[in-house]
């Protein structure tokens, strides 16, 4: 058995194989690689005995699921309402400029990915940026470089 198959089997062993378990299974599977690989989708479809099209149909519907590899450090710029009125749009542009990639993209060396989130619920310290699990509050455009440099060494 291939290494990744073992990982899938371990996840599946926690489930009965019912259709309604699809979303929790997708969530657990994504936790392995940070995104849903094609072999994973195939394995899930087989396990639940549903067409792959339905597995894709459900997973593409929800914002939580990714289908491409993520950067080692996922940068999430919050574009919730409170962040928006405090200039998150320009902050996102500053990240795009500094990283040389657009929102939703990954740097060539896979060290960073940049994405937007619709609210992390830390509105009181807007604008907010999350790097992995770390939360940065009151981020100004000029601090973008500093935030990126903190993680550049850890790649």
């Amino acid at each position: 058995m291939k290494k990744e198959d073992v990982k899938f089997q371990e996840i599946f062993s926690r489930y009965k194989g019912d259709r309604e378990e699809l979303i929790p299974i997708l969530q657990d599977t994504q936790a392995i690689y940070g995104y849903l690989t094609d072999p994973a989708m195939c394995a899930i479809a087989r396990f639940l005995r549903v067409p792959q099209s339905q597995v894709y149909g459900v997973s593409t519907f929800f914002a939580q699921f990714y289908f491409t590899r993520r950067g080692k450090h996922a940068i999430k710029v919050c574009l919730g309402t409170a962040c928006h009125v405090k200039g998150a749009g320009r902050l996102m542009e500053a990240f795009e400029r500094e990283m040389g990639i657009g929102c939703g993209c990954i740097t060539d060396d896979y060290s960073f990915s940049l994405e937007r989130v619709n609210c992390v619920g830390a509105c009181a310290i807007a604008p907010v940026v999350m790097v992995g699990e770390d939360v940065y509050g009151h981020v100004e455009s000029k601090r973008v470089k500093e935030v990126l440099e903190t993680y550049a060494d850890k790649t």
Partner: protein
């Protein structure tokens, strides 16, 4: 039948009293998500270190969020025989000082304190029902909750007939706190009346509104209040299974809930034969995978069934008659359930004494944006907007002028300054063209462009549209195109009327609440800020100086002191100049990022923003 809660309660009260009179100081650290984002865990570690170093004994406990997010990290210290003192904006360094100064040298450090006895400065304006325990008890301790009369509502309910409970909820006048405002008692009754072998209770904690975090705070700070409410609902409608539908983006809330459910099971407050009553109720957590439209009941139910969350078109049975797996399903918001436990325990008349006649109880708002004191507030229904923003919120930040307040998220609208005397409740906000929604309240000042805000919300709704009905899928996109044109100075005469016409058509034609409310932010900003739209279209001018296409950055040669700050900071090298030579901005290279504007010291204020002939400096 005798409900055996009393022994549990007495033990909990004893524990609680012991804790208060143990002779040891108690240190409470607010460690909900907002506290943690501000470094609460580092503060806790620093306190621990310092206590070890000084060899002091004290009880250090985590609590949820008391609502004063503007002052995080919050640390409370209760010394035996002294009032409880709350300290604001504590860093690890300050925490160490505080421990040494207060616990060793008995210097209460009044310079760091913001209030005593856990009384927030605006105590007289706020009423705590839903958030009564948040920030006071340890959310991971069921005995803390029991000591605050927790589960007494459930114990009382189990000795009542289901219809009696529903009657109490009806008498209390409680209306759904998720946005719709549907009378909770009537919803419960319709669930009770349907005959079925299996029924479900679902708590909607898929808080997807950008700018809202009330439900998260309640789950993180007082998870048992929601569990209790759900169990009461289960008994009242005859359901043995409950599901907490929580956003996957709320990992801390999920963790606290799991702990709380386990603790409740251990004490037989959940599970088989609860407290010897013969009633069994199980609770599971379902992690929502991130779809705003799943706030709609049929979409939420479908996603639990493992399908795409696409709302079912009318005519269809109500979820309360035919919901999850085709069975009667009661779906209420986090705050609704948190109210229920209190209503049963303290009686419907108590609940009715708060708020207004048609909307009894309280409203919980996440007050954010350009306001001095961002945070979570709980106020009686019917309070004026002005009191919320200027008294509790401390007014607009930075001394700027108030322009609008947005409520209800992407389904709501913006209200202007002359509506500040509006009494806030579910109906009054709807009548004013906005909505209470689940409770986001974002304050905007004169630097926020209302056209841009409308564009922002519409973009959100478009992205979150499930796409099955054309008015929502195509209509919002067309409206967004027009709005983008307007913000880029390409607006045409007639655009405003076209937006209004399309907005009304989308409201009429969409099949679910998302489409039916998506145009609200646009329509309400047109209603109250039409002149701003007109300025964009006719004069190619953005009065708030926010729309990039309509503004230019220049440097006032007379004011510029040639300090070089902006020159160094400019990411596109658009600024030229030298020592003693006033700087200039090359408008072709300028990206309008605004960094020069924020870099230029206030005492020079040399960077100017111009739009359609008017200018302003920082």
């Amino acid at each position: 039948m005798r409900i055996k809660l009393e022994p549990l309660r007495q033990e909990a009260v004893k524990n609680w009293q012991e804790l208060q009179s143990f002779g040891q100081p108690i240190i409470l650290v607010g460690a909900a998500t907002c506290g943690r984002a501000s470094g609460a865990l580092d503060v806790m570690a620093a306190i621990g270190e310092k206590m070890k170093e000084l060899e002091i004994d004290a009880i250090v406990r985590q609590t949820g969020c008391v609502g004063m997010c503007h002052s995080e990290v919050l640390v409370d210290i209760i010394k035996p025989g002294r009032p409880r003192i709350t300290y604001a904006k504590i860093t690890p360094e300050l925490a160490k000082e505080l421990v040494e100064d207060y616990l060793v040298h008995d210097n209460a450090r009044e310079d760091l304190a913001i209030c005593v006895q856990g009384e927030t400065p605006d105590e007289d304006l706020q009423v705590r029902v839903v958030m009564r325990n948040c920030g006071h008890i340890d959310p991971n301790s069921i005995t803390d909750y029991l000591a605050q009369d927790g589960y007494m509502g459930l114990a009382k309910a189990l000795e009542m007939m289901p219809q009696e409970i529903i009657d109490e909820v009806k008498v209390s006048g409680l209306r759904g706190r998720g946005g719709g405002g549907f009378p909770a008692g009537r919803k419960w009754e319709s669930c009770l009346q349907v005959e079925s072998d299996q029924k479900y209770v679902i708590c909607n904690a898929d808080e997807g509104d950008p700018g809202a975090f009330m439900d998260r705070s309640v789950l993180e700070g007082d998870p048992h209040s929601v569990i209790e409410g759900m169990a009461i609902a289960g008994y009242a409608i005859g359901a043995s299974k409950g599901i907490l539908y929580v956003r996957a983006e709320y990992p801390l809330a999920i963790r606290q809930l799991k702990i709380a459910i386990e603790q409740a099971k251990e004490r037989n407050l959940l599970g088989e034969n609860i407290l010897g009553s013969g009633f069994s109720f199980d609770l599971d957590i379902f992690q929502g995978a991130g779809a705003f439209v799943c706030g709609e009941s049929t979409a939420l139910v479908l996603s639990i069934e493992g399908k795409r969350g696409m709302p079912k078109p009318l005519p269809r049975p109500r979820t309360s008659e035919e919901g999850l797996w085709g069975k009667p399903t009661l779906l209420n918001n986090v705050k609704t359930f948190a109210c229920v436990a209190q209503i049963i325990h303290r009686g419907p008349d108590w609940f009715k004494s708060i708020g207004t006649e048609k909307c009894p109880g309280t409203a919980v708002f996440a007050l954010t944006g350009k306001v001095n004191k961002c945070g979570l507030i709980e106020v009686p229904m019917g309070i004026e907007l002005d009191k919320i923003i200027n008294e509790i919120g401390g007014g607009v930040a930075g001394g700027r002028a108030f322009k609008a307040v947005q409520t209800g998220g992407p389904s709501g609208g913006c209200l202007p300054a002359d509506m500040l005397n509006l009494p806030v409740d579910i109906d009054s906000l709807t009548a004013a063209g906005s909505m209470m929604g689940s409770g986001g309240m974002v304050v905007m000042d004169d630097s926020t462009c209302m056209v841009d805000v409308a564009r922002y919300f519409l973009e959100f709704s478009l992205e979150e549209s499930c796409g099955q009905c054309a008015p929502c899928r195509v209509g919002t996109e067309q409206m967004l195109t027009i709005l983008k044109d307007i913000t880029q100075g390409k607006g045409r005469e007639g655009d405003i009327d076209l937006l209004v016409e399309m907005g009304k058509a989308i409201i009429d034609g969409s099949i679910c609440g998302l489409g039916q409310s998506a145009p609200n932010p646009v329509l309400s900003t047109i209603r109250y800020f039409r002149d701003e739209y007109e300025a964009h279209i006719r004069d190619k001018e953005c009065p708030a100086k926010a729309c990039k296409a309509l503004i230019t950055y220049t440097i006032d040669a007379e004011k510029c002191q040639a300090c070089g700050r902006c020159l160094k900071a400019c990411p596109t090298q658009a600024i030229t100049g030298a020592k003693k030579t006033p700087h200039t901005i090359d408008s072709d290279k300028c990206d309008k990022c605004g960094i020069c504007f924020s870099e230029c010291p206030d005492r020079f204020a040399a960077v100017l923003i111009t739009t359609g002939g008017t200018e302003s400096s920082n």
